[in-house]
């Protein structure tokens, strides 16, 4: 009889089975074998058996390794240590098979042979190794020209949608900006010195395929400022199969489209750049040609003050242009200074902004308040009037 009857159940069925993966790795790795057996025990007991990680890492880096230890090392000695290494993925998660095979070889030698492709922040996650292996692994990574990602109170590994590489809607060069930022802030990425974590995410358009607005402290979301590009012949083609009135025009959030059965008219001044009509008719409509991005800030998971989405800070900037890019970096650094000075321990920037007040925050970083920054103006009368000399 199998030692892992419960997990074996999860080898069945059409979806790729993680149990098969662990078994595959277990063929060459005692560590993965212990993981398998431990996981079976978890399935039996309905509880995890991992202890809090201590601080482990590679020399010169303050983050990038998540320490992990089993709670019952006597029974599962091979996962006594089971640390994770976060390897900074290439922008857009493209790989050559050469590079990927090299990482596999390295990992079979020094680790469990198990990975996450990828972690939810975006890193290439190498799952399970020992403290002793950390330095050798990093030595190998240097040779492979792969650096380590972020963890702790630092810049976390930035990530982006594939943008211009394969998407016609990318309004800025997400992969290039993501890479540039990653390179520029290597020190901040590798040496935690902030009140808490800081995540950069870049999506090429408001579809937000990297969920930047939901999970980045600073979210770059592509947009445009001229008219939607429109090909009337292609619209007519869609009209044959698509209910343009019901499924496009009536679903436009700003109700700025008209369809007379023949001709589609967009009141571009009132378009809120939601992407819906473009998504519905990709051959007929496209974002304008004058493209850039909006910058929003403050998304985070619930702990402590409740989950937040990023909120609008800079409605439009042409970040692909060097000058604008640098101006944005200056603002980012300014924000880091203020947050580092005045942020509380474990206070994300979104929480910080709410605590000090968005207007005060804007003032501190030198941005003018504009109505685009709010869903609506305040509805309570508790206004702090500034007391200039009368």
């Amino acid at each position: 009889m199998s030692d892992t009857p419960l997990l074996d159940e999860l080898e069945k069925g059409p979806w790729p089975s993680f149990v098969k993966e662990i078994k595959m790795a277990a063929k060459n790795s005692a560590m993965s074998q212990d993981l398998l057996d431990l996981l079976e025990k978890s399935y039996r007991d309905k509880i995890g058996y991992w202890k809090h990680g201590g601080i482990v890492g590679v020399m010169g880096y303050g983050g990038g390794v998540i320490g992990r230890y089993v709670a019952i090392p006597e029974q599962y000695p091979n996962v006594r240590h089971f640390h994770t290494i976060r390897v900074n993925q290439p922008a857009g998660w493209y790989y050559s098979t050469d590079a990927l095979r090299a990482i596999c070889d390295m990992w079979d030698e020094h680790g469990s042979g198990l990975t996450n492709m990828h972690g939810s922040t975006g890193d290439l996650v190498l799952l399970g190794t020992t403290t002793e292996e950390l330095e050798p692994i990093f030595d190998e990574l240097i040779k492979l020209e792969f650096d380590i990602g972020g963890s702790g109170s630092d810049v976390r590994t930035p990530s982006c949608c594939l943008g211009k590489s394969r998407c016609e809607w990318a309004c800025f060069d997400t992969m290039e900006v993501c890479h540039k930022i990653t390179m520029q802030y290597q020190d901040e990425l590798h040496r935690p010195a902030f009140p808490y974590k800081w995540k950069f995410k870049f999506s090429g358009c408001p579809n937000d395929c990297v969920a930047a607005i939901a999970r980045a402290d600073i979210s770059f979301i592509g947009t445009w400022r001229d008219d939607i590009q429109q090909d009337d012949a292609a619209v007519a083609e869609y009209a044959k199969t698509l209910n343009i009135l019901r499924d496009v025009v009536e679903r436009c959030p700003s109700r700025c489209m008209e369809w007379n059965g023949d001709k589609l008219t967009i009141d571009n001044d009132n378009c809120v750049h939601c992407m819906h009509c473009i998504n519905a008719m990709p051959k007929a409509l496209a974002p304008g040609k004058d493209r850039g991005c909006s910058i929003l800030m403050g998304a985070k998971a619930p702990i402590i003050e409740g989950a937040m989405l990023s909120s609008m800070m800079i409605p439009f900037v042409k970040i692909d242009e060097e000058e604008d890019y640098e101006a944005v970096c200056e603002i980012v650094e300014e924000i880091w200074d203020i947050w580092s000075d005045e942020g509380k321990n474990r206070e994300r920037i979104g929480e910080f902004i709410e605590r000090v007040g968005k207007s005060n925050f804007l003032e501190a970083i030198g941005l003018e308040p504009i109505p685009e920054m709010v869903a609506h103006p305040r509805d309570n009368p508790y206004i702090f009037f500034e007391q200039e000399e009368d």
Partner: protein, 364 residues
């Protein structure tokens, strides 16, 4: 820094990994079409065409499997491949005739193709019992159990009105964008920390522990023998485990009272409606490994109800907004309880502050 060793060199530049057709058409894509389930074609201004085949992934991947992916990429894709923001694997080719070969090759190693367009794609998820100390449920196992059941919505056999994003996080830290998913599966503890008073002061900084609690349930205390520790006001604790995150001496994991909650109606994209959070659907389902049948069946009900009634493109949350929350609970046969009414900081803003009401059972 006083290291000889190279540091801070960053990730390799992506340009090293782009397939030739992408390099040539970078920034020049004109439009795309869905060729068939799991297959996209992007057409460039130059007329070039690039076919993408999206393969399912369970995310937790052995190096040997990665090598199999590499084999496929070497054979059909000039030696390049990529992964998506939801952890699927993608193979790209300019040769339309290679598409079916790729699909077959993926099938051979157990990876179905799909997740594009109006479909369910793979479940963004976290570590669970495989790696995290904090988890109230497993991640990979629940994901596998759910995806096995909804595979036809992934591979296109069952068409659905729009995209449907499922995500799982194994504790309230919510690694992944669980809080904005059409359906979110969230591991929850339901009992306060079992504080080990002898260890708190040794392993943790008491002021940090006190500050960590969102509901201010924790205060410093001193045992009779003078040991400094913390005390948890059980009435105020809502089991978020943030204390455990900062202090290992306050574990919450528990085999019988840990489990799963289900959330619905969140979204991230700005398409049509604004991005929005998921809302509580089912407060608690006990862990039932290996296949969590109560979880999968509830999820299937929600998908089916949405799928049979939603308009094209209409996401789960948009549909619920249209039909009203009472109808959602009714149609999905979910009981509405105390727990559904918010009682955290902004609770009052979620109350129904209008006389808008649909006719329903309350009327009888």
């Amino acid at each position: 820094m006083s290291f000889e060793r190279k540091t801070d060199f960053g990730p390799p530049h992506y340009s090293r990994f782009l397939p030739p057709a992408i390099k040539a058409n970078y920034g020049k894509w004109k439009y795309h079409e869905i060729v068939k389930p799991g297959v996209l074609v992007h057409v460039s201004e130059s007329g070039d065409k690039l076919f993408t085949v999206r393969g399912a992934s369970g995310r937790l991947t052995a190096t040997d499997k990665l090598r199999m992916f590499c084999d496929i990429a070497d054979k059909h894709c000039d030696g390049f491949l990529r992964f998506t923001s939801r952890h699927n694997v993608e193979f790209m080719t300019t040769h339309e005739e290679r598409v079916d070969d790729i699909i077959q090759a993926l099938a051979d190693i157990g990876h179905p193709v799909g997740g594009i367009g109006a479909a369910i794609t793979s479940i963004v998820h976290t570590q669970g019992w495989v790696h995290c100390h904090s988890s109230a449920t497993d991640a990979s196992g629940v994901v596998k159990a759910v995806m096995d059941e909804v595979i036809e919505y992934f591979d296109g056999r069952k068409p659905i009105p729009g995209k449907l994003r499922i995500a799982l996080a194994c504790c309230l830290n919510m690694c992944g964008a669980v809080h904005c998913s059409d359906i979110a599966i969230l591991g929850v503890h339901t009992r306060p920390p079992a504080t080990d008073d002898t260890q708190v002061n040794k392993q943790c900084e008491i002021p940090n522990v006190v500050a960590a609690c969102p509901t201010a349930a924790i205060r410093p205390s001193t045992l009779e023998d003078g040991t400094r520790t913390v005390e948890v006001d059980q009435e105020r604790c809502m089991f978020c485990a943030n204390c455990f995150t900062v202090c290992p001496a306050m574990p919450l994991n528990n085999p019988t009272t840990d489990g799963i909650s289900l959330w619905v109606g969140g979204k991230v994209s700005n398409a049509r409606s604004k991005p929005t959070f998921s809302k509580l659907a089912v407060p608690f389902i006990p862990n039932n490994p290996p296949r969590w049948p109560e979880v999968t069946s509830k999820i299937i009900t929600m998908i089916e109800e949405w799928s049979k009634d939603a308009l094209p493109f209409e996401r789960m949350g948009e549909w619920i907004e249209r039909i009203g929350w009472p109808a959602f609970f009714d149609r999905c046969e979910i009981e509405f309880t105390k727990q559904h009414i918010d009682d955290f900081k902004h609770a009052g803003l979620s109350y129904n502050r209008s006389a808008h009401l649909r006719r329903a059972s309350y009327m009888d």
